[in-house]
Symmetry: C2
Subunit: 226 residues, 2 copies
Amino acid sequence: MTGWQDIKAEVLARIHARAWPPGSAIPHEAALAQEFGVARATVNRALRSLAQAGWLDRRRKAGTRVALHPVRKATLSIPILRAEVTALGHAYAHRLLSRDLAPAPDAIAAALALPTATMLWHIVALHLADDAPFAAEDRWVNPAAIPGFADADLTRTSANEWLVQHAPFTHGDFTIAAARAGAGPVPIAPCGAALLTVTRTTWDGFRPITWVRLTFAQGHQIRAAL
Amino acid sequence: MTGWQDIKAEVLARIHARAWPPGSAIPHEAALAQEFGVARATVNRALRSLAQAGWLDRRRKAGTRVALHPVRKATLSIPILRAEVTALGHAYAHRLLSRDLAPAPDAIAAALALPTATMLWHIVALHLADDAPFAAEDRWVNPAAIPGFADADLTRTSANEWLVQHAPFTHGDFTIAAARAGAGPVPIAPCGAALLTVTRTTWDGFRPITWVRLTFAQGHQIRAAL
DNA sequence: GAGTGGTCTAGACCACGGG
DNA sequence: CCGTGGTCTAGACCACTCG
């Protein structure tokens, strides 16, 4: 009856009820284990979970304290566009607009830590939801990192999906920003509209794989739970 | 020498090297425990971690499979604006522009699941970085949920910080969108500029606490690692 | 029905870091 | 130094769910 989730809930309730106010130390694992009548490992599991969620600060010897600023974290999932569109109940389609081997512009080369004017694949594509523009994709792919990319049929599978399935990455980063329509390579909204852009770079170890900027149609939102 | 993190790394390496291709089943916990010469709990810790990161799909009886679409998750931390500004190396300041008790507009009432025209605190404030506008805050606070809010000195501590410290919330959600400058209650950029907005609602159990929309200055970006 | 992951235990040793 | 969290073990029972 008393699992680690129950203990987690109880501790969270005490934090929330200010029985253990922010900044104060809470009892040791051993003490809590005795109080709840469980093994220390069970308490550890509960407290570790709360620490990961940002509710507790734990340090060896210093003990466990209630976080002063409960830094809430939200997890943004980075889905494939096809999945995102179909999840919204629309029919998905995509259109490959261009695909060239071209020297990387300075900004792209810098973002990928490649020498200036390295030859990269440049892909421009449009993602559609019920035949209406959903997002414009502007992508640069490092051929050195993805040997098979030259032979990929990007008219059937979008570069987005192809890379997800064939080019595992170890890490990356992304940036969300707002931009005025009209600047990108593909017009997707009336000139002057405020659009959301997501720019992502991914790496395989130390080798840069791809840089991609998605410009979403007007009104698009990114949601997450806290 | 062989900890759960080592096992996690080894499994990840095999996934990455396609020794265990996407969609395929990997050996049972017991088998891996024997192979690595550790207890099953140690293997479990490693695999659970990989599953949480989206690399594996685990189900009782069905076993553990390499995820077909490694759904990468990024954790967005929701910092206090003061911390965000100072982290960027700027001096933080804020200015309370107005604070009224006013009937909630329909959109706000709906978002908080309150009856139309419920009386709420309406706060408008400006956050500054090195005396330049950083973000405009448009906030509605439910007085029923936060009794002490009427007495809070919001000129010293921003509503943002005051609520973080005095009004714990159990859950919430947020939405990122793009908007054209000029629509909000506070002009923060030249008319027509594309601005990033973050809208957040938070709850304490069933009671809605606050609705807030932050409109960031032109050029602001939200970053995260994958 | 039976195999698999999920969890718990009691005990142990270790690494870190505050005092 | 030495208390605290971090981790590992060997074994056990349970819950879920696939076949």
